[in-house]
C-alpha cells in the first residue's frame, strides 16, 4: 500500500471511531494470527501496545489460539511487534483501516506482526570472560 493510500484509509470520520476494533497479532508472516475484538469505547484511550499486551495475555484460549501464541512468543524472543513494518506507538486508531464483513458490517482492523530480525551469516561466540582467562 502506498503512503497516499494509507493516509486515505487512515482519514476516518468520527463515525468510524465508533466501530469495533479487530486486532490481529500474527507470528512472522503467518496467514492467521491471534484475533481479539474490542468494542467501541474500549480502545480509543489505550495505547496500541497495551492492547497487544492484553490480547497476548488472554485466557481461555482454544488449542489453535494457544499454538499461535506460542509461535508469537517464539518470534518475540529477540523480536518485536510491528505494524506495517513500523514501530507501534500511539493508539490503535492511528494504525487502523476500515474494512467490512461479507454481510456489510463495518469494523476497524489493525494487523500486528511479531517479527524477529535476521542477523546475518555468522553467529558471534563471545569469548568466555570467566576466571580461566
Amino acid at each position: 500500500m502506498s503512503d497516499t493510500d494509507l493516509k486515505k484509509e487512515l482519514q476516518m470520520d468520527e463515525a468510524e471511531k465508533l466501530l469495533p476494533l479487530v486486532l490481529e497479532i500474527l507470528p512472522g508472516h503467518a496467514a492467521e494470527g491471534l484475533i481479539d475484538i474490542y468494542e467501541p469505547g474500549s480502545y480509543t484511550a489505550k495505547s496500541l501496545r497495551k492492547l497487544c499486551d492484553k490480547t497476548l495475555n488472554k485466557k481461555n484460549l482454544s488449542i489453535e489460539e494457544q499454538l499461535i501464541v506460542e509461535d508469537i512468543k517464539r518470534q518475540l524472543d529477540g523480536g518485536k511487534l510491528l505494524s506495517r513494518g513500523q514501530e507501534i506507538e500511539g493508539t490503535a486508531l492511528e494504525y487502523a483501516v476500515s474494512e467490512q464483513t461479507e454481510a456489510g458490517e463495518k469494523y476497524l482492523y489493525v494487523p500486528i506482526r511479531a517479527i524477529r530480525p535476521q542477523e546475518g551469516g555468522i553467529g558471534l561466540i563471545l569469548f568466555d570472560y570467566g576466571d580461566e582467562q
Binding site: D3, H29, A31, G78, K80, E87, G120, G123, L126
Partner: protein, 413 residues
Amino acid sequence: MRQSRLDRQIRIEGWNQQALDNAKIGVVGDEDLLASLYVMSASALGINHIVSLAPSLDPLLVETAKKLNPRFTLTHMEGFYTHPAIDELFKGCRLIVDLSHYGLANKLLLEKGFRENIPIIRGFCYEKNGDQGFKVFSYLRGREWQELEQIISSSHLPNGHFDDGVLDTIIAGIVLEETKNLLMGQDVSDDLISYARKQLNTPNNQHNILVVGSGALGIFVGLGLAYSKFQNITFMDPDVIEITNLNRQVLFYNAIGESKAITLSKKLNTLFGIESNAKVAYFDRNSDIEFYDVVFDCVDNFETRIVLSETCKDLGKVLISGGTSPNAGQVVTYNPNDNGTTPAELLGMYDIVEKRHPETYQRERAACTYQPDPSVIMTNQIAAGFMVDSYRMLIDGQKPENVFYDSTSAVRF
C-alpha cells in the same frame, strides 16, 4: 572441496543436497538478465544440470556459474519456445522454470506442465500503467486457478519488454527458492507472489555510496547498484574469502584467501566499468562516513548494525540495512529527513545484544570468535535486491516500505 563449498547450506536442518545434485532443470528465458541470473544462482546452490532455451545468456553470469561449481553443466539452445516440437530438449527435467516474456511460451509450458505433470515455476518483471514490479507463481497440476491469467504475458510473441537487473535478482532468488522446495519435496507457495511500486524516473547516479560488508549481501547489492548504473561505490570489509563462502558469494570463485572488499570492487570495475574502491577495515565508531550520501548495511552481526545506525543518525545519513537467515530476511530504511527510527531501534537490536551478553556489545569484534551459521544464496539476493530498490525509490521521491521476507510464508513479504 565440494563439501566445503556447500558447507553453509548443508548445515540447514532437513537439507537434501542430493536432491539438488541429481536434478535436471529446464529454463526458458529471453535475451535479458533474468534467466542468466537464475542459472548463476542455481549453480551456486549446487544444481548441476540445466538445460536452457533462450535467445542469449549473459556470458559473465554463465562463466561465473561454471567456475563456481565444477560439476555444473549447461546445455543452451539459442531460440524461443514457440512450438511443442522443442519439448524434446526438456526430456528428463524435474521441473521447468519459465522466465520468458511472451505469452506463447507461457501457454505452451503450462499445457506441457498439465499434460506431463511437470511443475512450472513462472517468474517475470513487468511495467504497466506507471507501475513496475514482478510476479512469481508455481504451477502444479491441479492449480488451474485464476492466478494463471496474471502470469501470461500480454505480448503473444517475443517482443521488446521491460527488464530491470535489480528486480531480476529478486525474482531469480524467489524462483530458485521454489525450485529448491520442489526438489526437496517441501511446500511451494500457493499464492501469486507479487511486488509493485511506482515506475522509477531516471535516477541521479552520482551519489557516493558506502557498502559495509562485502559478503553475499554486499555482492548482490554491488551487482544491483552496478545494474542501476551507480558509479561511486566504496566497499568496506575486513575479511578474506573462504571456500565456505562460495555457495552464495558468487563473484569470489577464483579469489580464496584474498580480501573480499578489494576483490568485489575490482570485479565490478572490470565488468561494469564503474569506479568503485575498497577499504579493508572494520566499521567502527571512528569510521568516517561524512563523504557518503548513503550507507548500505550488509554486515553479519547486530553489534556493528547498532554502530551503523547510531553513526548514520548522528550524521544524518541515509541507511539501508539488510539482514538474512536461510529462510528469512529484512530490509529497513532509515531516512534522516523523515526523523524515522533507525534499524537498530526498530528491530530492538539493543535488547537482543544486551540479553546476549550485557557487557559486551561495545567490545571490539577482534575479541570474538565466530561460529558459522547456515546460509544460502536465495535470501541474500532477495534482500539485497530490495535494499537497492529501496534506495532507488528513495532518491526517486517515493517512500520505500520496510520489507520483511519469509520464505516459509505463502505471500513471502
